[in-house]
């Protein structure tokens, strides 16, 4: 099936120098624990162009979160490097927002919902009235306009997750990293949020890297999907999603091409889980 699809290739796609906003090069991450070393990520290389919306899928435990944290400058890589705008990332860059997989723990329990969303803006020095508007809009967009005064622990799981999303959206970042941000919300809300992300992406021209487990979601949302192999992780495949730019929950999902892509990704992940590793990646490891 892979060969049938001209827009996909094993290994991450790289761009010529200067064109990439974010480049990941030979990234390797080994966690050192008392029980021995855990190689979470073996070798990752790919580029993200400015304003791209890329989805990242891969088996559980394949190192998606690890990769995201390396890109966010929260985790030092063992080998290789991540560059943003040509600069090697050593700490969290400015104007980057992250939605963490552990949404519950990422919200500050001592701040109310609106305050949680507001804090990064306040810290960035956004004037008060502007902040107010941004916070209200963001909460409205995720469907939480009615609970600004609640504490995070008074909310349901899905609501907490939406607060984290609202915080990221309100921050108006240039790069948005999201780690399974819709895992805890229902199907309908999820669809709404997918459309929200696409509209934010279009409106603000933000570069998005989006981790998800939902294959349909990755195809519906992304302009490109990167599939990670199972641990020790390399890029299994990098597919361009050649669906129309205007997407609609019902229409797009019923396109034959959508189904085709979906099957392709599904098959790839299954391969990944069974331990298949792309040739290219293996040679990369060797060199």
């Amino acid at each position: 099936m892979q060969s049938e699809n001209p827009t996909s290739h094993a290994g991450g796609r790289t761009l010529p120098d200067g064109e990439a906003l974010l480049s990941v090069r030979n990234l390797k991450k080994v966690y050192r624990t008392d029980a021995g070393d855990i190689e979470a990520v073996r070798n990752l290389t790919f580029d993200l162009g400015r304003g791209e919306l890329v989805c990242l899928v891969g088996p559980s435990g394949s190192g998606k979160t690890t990769l995201l944290k390396c890109i966010a400058g929260l985790l030092a890589s063992t080998e290789g490097e991540v560059r943003l705008d040509g600069q090697v990332i050593t700490g969290p860059p400015k104007k980057m927002a992250v939605v963490f997989q552990e949404y519950g723990r990422s919200l500050f329990p001592w701040l109310r919902v609106a305050e949680n969303v507001e804090l990064p803006l306040k810290n960035a020095g956004v004037p008060k009235n502007e902040r107010k508007v941004l916070v209200e809009q963001a909460l409205e967009a995720v469907g939480l306009a009615h609970v600004p005064k609640s504490y995070p622990w008074q909310l349901s799981g899905g609501m907490q997750q939406r607060v984290a999303i609202a915080r990221a959206v309100a921050y108006q970042p240039e790069v948005l990293l999201m780690d399974e941000p819709f895992a805890a919300v229902d199907a309908q809300t999820r669809a709404d949020l997918e459309d929200l992300i696409r509209s934010v992406w279009k409106k603000l021209g933000v570069t998005v890297l989006f981790v998800t487990h939902d294959i349909d979601e990755s195809i519906y949302l992304g302009e490109r999907v990167i599939i990670l192999s199972s641990s020790p992780t390399v890029v299994q495949e990098d597919i361009v999603i050649d669906l129309p730019a205007e997407r609609d929950q019902l229409e797009t999902r019923s396109l034959p091409r959508f189904t085709e892509l979906r099957h392709h990704v599904y098959a790839e992940i299954q391969k990944a889980k069974q331990g298949h590793r792309p040739e290219e990646a293996i040679t990369m490891v060797a060199k």
Binding site: A72, V98, W110, L111, Y151
Partner: protein, 257 residues
């Protein structure tokens, strides 16, 4: 009804203990243990007059100044040390060294360095009651949820803002445990500080009573200490409830063990 209940909680156990004491002392009189009646009488006689202004008040002022300074210093130092691993390694043995020094041997050195004045007494109070605040702040900062730290870092919340909006609130429950310890230790050190180069003060008076075998008076002084302790603690708990409203809400949500 609600106030009645809280009064019951407030006085229940003390009354039981009082009754027990009363029964225990109703038999043979012991020179060193007065009866409740004796104590009550002495208490009024001893403390309800001029002593309140000349001895108790200055002591309490020194205590409050010392404790507040210790809290501020403890939290400030604790943040600096807790957030910085190198600082921690550098300072820990020295802190531990000072922590182990008994105040009675520290006081003479302080008298040499500071002189004999209120400053010295306050320094003694600080030197003793800073430790629980400092240690708890360090531990509180160290045990912050890593996801919270990552959140702050990724949103570029750093420096003062990070301390103000993330580190401090997150460590507050732990810090509060230290502050609570600090209050009673401060009171104890107030007494110790007045054992040196003093001629007035609550602690001085108690020690004086003890030395001159004015036993009921001494116990009444201890009761004064206890009452000040209770008062300070209630003020503290009131503040704590306000500061940690989110925390108690978070923990008490239907969380009967």
């Amino acid at each position: 009804m609600k106030t009645l209940k809280s009064i019951g909680y407030l006085l229940g156990l003390p009354l039981i203990l009082l009754a027990w004491w009363w029964i225990a002392t109703s038999g043979a009189a012991n020179f060193f243990v007065p009866t409740p009646a004796q104590l009550a009488e002495t208490f009024v006689e001893t403390w309800m007059g001029e002593r309140l202004v000349t001895d108790v008040l200055p002591s309490v002022i020194r205590l409050v100044v010392g404790v507040l300074a210790a809290i501020v210093l403890g939290i400030g130092l604790g943040l600096a040390v807790g957030l910085n691993r190198t600082m921690r390694a550098l300072t820990e043995p020295v802190f531990e060294f000072f922590r182990a020094l008994p105040p009675p041997v520290l006081v003479p050195v302080l008298m040499l360095l500071v002189g004999i004045n209120d400053g010295m007494k306050i320094a003694v109070i600080i030197s003793g009651c800073i430790w629980p605040v400092l240690l708890n702040t360090i531990e509180g900062v160290r045990s912050i949820d890593p996801v919270q730290n990552e959140t702050s870092r990724s949103y570029g919340i750093s420096g003062f803002n990070r301390i103000r909006y993330q580190v401090l609130p997150s460590a507050t429950p732990t810090i509060m445990a230290g502050v609570r310890q600090c209050l009673s230790i401060g009171l104890i050190l107030m007494v110790i500080s007045e054992m040196f180069a003093s001629s007035s003060g609550l602690g001085f008076t108690i020690v004086q009573f003890q030395r001159s075998f004015a036993v009921p008076e001494m116990w009444s002084g201890i009761v004064v200490l206890g009452l000040i302790g209770v008062a300070l603690s209630f003020i503290f708990q009131w503040c704590e409830r306000r500061v940690l409203r989110w925390y108690h809400g978070l923990k008490e949500v239907e969380n009967a063990v």
